[in-house]
């Protein structure tokens, strides 16, 4: 099938009445989850996840994906107006966004970042459309050893490019894989680590809600004060000067390029992309001293990077079946529940799903621009609702969302357990994303490992005898000295960095 007929097929799917409706619902909820600090896209996706049982698979993914990239647009509002990142990805946006708001240029900042988000998103979608089919075609040749090697590589990458210490992230990956072991072993039927409480595996939703949702809410309470928003600064001048536009053009494109690359890598791809693009712009700038005082480059580059990364993150998720972030895990899960496995076969067997979802991203991004330019005032009003009304609402949705996936209070107790764990992880500065990726990929990795061993008659060298798996294994071993080096470097630099915190 040619590219054009695929696009036509995708458009016809994406523009159906119900798909348009759920695309709109998704980006609305996504914006909302981004706007309100303490709720991220992951919490919002978890809450709406049970709804996907009643939807066709394409519609389900269109809605969940809308939440995911909608939050990318929403999170910058609180960062610019309140100096509080709406989602962790937008932490870097505070550095120059809030000074701009203080100069009475919040409207300009919001408009420029909306443009940057749209440009970054568009570049990301284009790359997804170009490279998705190529990667899927290539991956058709993958067997158990290749998948094991690729997942191992993915998890190692996820921990090295995660925020903070690489070794702590690696420990969280392993911990996540360990939680994935809980439940009945598929080969022998032995219940592992269940202690007679329940034989079911740990619920993904409950784990995600606890480690992310509840923990985020806990640290956001008593931490924000929306009374400082100056409505005049937002609705006043919104017209960027020619100087602003000239300064934004290249950083937006550079941000998109960086974001597109990091989005493919699993782990905190979007987070790293936005931080790195800020650092890049600061380094490239002729007058780096303007950064931190309201430089427009410092807000457009991370926003563009974030949105490009959100789109290219769908490449590994949809074409390899390897989710690149915790939110992607849930989107892949929504397909799996409906009996459709994301992976190389998806594009051939269900081109309508792949292309329908991808084309809906264009529609979603256009809707988001409309929601963000003429209707920006509504979101600011939502941001001004006192947090003491917002967070109990979030918790109610977290609890009900978890409860109705299986109708058992055991899952809610799981949220309690992982909520405590998630809070402790924040106190001790352990990243949560690697744990979630490990939790999801772990059981699959064990399965692929055992299949490979059967295939190779117990010889571990089989991983090096097949070219593709050998390639990834060599990369894995090449990363080991890199991790050791980063640990040594950390222990030297940590004192300096901790002083800055």
């Amino acid at each position: 099938m040619s590219v054009l007929s695929n696009i036509a097929l995708g458009l016809s799917v994406a523009t159906s009445y119900s798909n348009l409706l759920y695309c709109f619902l998704g980006v609305m909820v996504g914006m909302l989850s981004g706007v309100i600090p303490g709720i991220g896209p992951l919490t919002a996706i978890s809450v709406l996840f049970p709804l996907t049982f009643y939807l066709p698979p394409t519609t389900a993914v269109i809605m969940l994906a809308g939440i995911w990239y909608g939050a990318g647009y929403g999170g910058r509002i609180a960062a610019i107006l309140l100096n509080i990142p709406g989602t962790p990805i937008h932490a870097v946006m505070c550095l120059d966004g809030f000074p701009l708001a203080n100069q009475g240029r919040a409207g300009v900042a919001l408009l420029l970042t909306t443009t940057a988000a749209f440009v970054g998103g568009s570049i990301g979608i284009t790359l997804l459309m170009l490279f998705g089919p190529i990667v899927a075609d290539f991956a058709l040749r993958f067997g158990a050893p290749e998948y094991f090697a690729l997942m191992l590589f993915g998890l190692i990458i996820a921990s090295t490019i995660s925020e903070g210490s690489a070794i702590k992230a690696l420990a969280m990956v392993v911990l996540g894989v360990m939680f994935g072991c809980v439940g009945i072993d598929i080969y022998t039927g032995t219940p592992r680590f269940t202690f007679g409480i329940a034989d079911n595996p740990i619920s993904l939703i409950a784990l995600a809600m606890g480690i992310y949702g509840v923990a985020q809410v806990i640290v956001s309470i008593n931490a924000m004060d929306p009374t400082g928003i100056n409505m005049m600064a937002v609705t006043g001048t919104t017209k960027p000067t020619a100087e602003d536009l000239r300064r934004s053009a290249l950083p937006t494109l550079r941000g998109a390029a960086l974001g597109a690359f990091f989005g493919i890598l699993p782990g905190a791809g979007t987070l790293i992309a936005s931080f790195l693009s800020y650092a890049t712009e600061k380094r490239l700038a002729k007058e780096p001293q303007r950064f931190g005082k309201g430089a427009v480059e410092g807000i457009v580059a991370p926003e563009s990077a974030d949105n490009a990364a959100e789109m290219t993150g769908f490449i590994p998720t949809l074409t390899l079946g390897i989710p690149s972030s915790p939110s992607m895990v849930l989107m892949a899960g929504a397909l799996i529940i409906q009996g459709i496995t994301p992976g190389p076969a998806l594009m051939n067997q269900h081109p309508d799903i792949f292309w329908g979802v991808v084309m809906s991203f264009w529609i979603g991004n256009v809707i988001l621009v409309i929601l963000n330019v003429p209707f920006i005032g509504i979101w600011i009003r939502i941001l001004m609702i006192p947090y003491r009304f917002l967070y109990p609402t979030v918790l109610v949705f977290i609890c009900i969302g978890t409860y109705i996936t299986n109708y058992t209070s055991f899952d809610v107790w799981t949220v309690v357990f992982f909520g405590v764990l998630g809070y402790l992880m924040m106190v001790f500065r352990f990243p949560a994303a690697p744990a979630l990726l490990g939790f999801v990929l772990g059981p699959e990795m064990e399965d692929f490992f055992r299949r490979t061993m059967l295939l190779g008659n117990g010889d571990v060298l089989i991983f090096f005898q097949r070219p593709i798996s050998c390639f990834f294994m060599v990369l894995v071993f090449a990363m080991v000295p890199l991790i050791i080096w980063s640990v040594v470097r950390e222990s030297r630099q940590a004192a300096v960095r901790h002083a800055l915190h």
């Binding site: 690696l170 680590f193 806990i218 947090y387 003491r388 405590v420 117990g458 010889d459 002083a499």
Partner: protein
């Protein structure tokens, strides 16, 4: 500032102990199998061992450097967790409305500016919202309120 990074020493130590226990439990309770036919204990045992060593590395790195002060907040985590636990306790036997009220009241106590009237209004709004979305909209079979019946 502390002369050592106690944040990492404590957390690394906990991970080491947990990893070692996990590996020990897997080795003693599940089969190792052969290399061709890998048993159900090998993978968890390997994971536990790896985690124990990673934890040890975190401890060692923490011993070599200074660390910033750290502390727990009590009010926020305790009331939020109590709220979720309260929901878990009540949802099965009392139904939706009591569970939402218990969660909302307990969780709201985490905020320093909680006021009775606002809290009552919030409970009312949330019950109505949930009823409209989940019971009317999605037609889920959750009892709105029920007398307890323990089996």
């Amino acid at each position: 500032m502390y002369s050592r990074d106690y944040r990492d020493i404590v957390s690394g130590g906990v991970l080491t102990v947990f990893g070692a226990w996990f590996a020990w439990y897997a080795i003693t309770h599940y089969g190792r199998g052969t290399m061709t036919n890998v048993g159900d204990g090998l993978f968890p045992a390997a994971l536990g061992t790896i985690l124990a060593f990673l934890g040890l590395a975190i401890v060692l790195a923490g011993l070599r450097r200074e660390g910033s002060k750290f502390g727990f907040r009590f009010r926020e985590p305790v009331f939020v967790i109590l709220g979720v636990a309260g929901f878990a306790l009540t949802i099965g036997s009392f139904g939706l409305v009591p569970a939402i009220v218990v969660l909302t009241v307990l969780a709201s106590l985490a905020d320093l500016n909680v006021r009775p009237l606002g809290l009552a209004a919030l409970c009312l709004v949330l019950c109505l919202l949930v009823y409209l979305i989940f019971v009317v909209g999605l037609k889920l079979a959750i009892p709105i309120a029920a007398w307890p019946h323990w089996e």
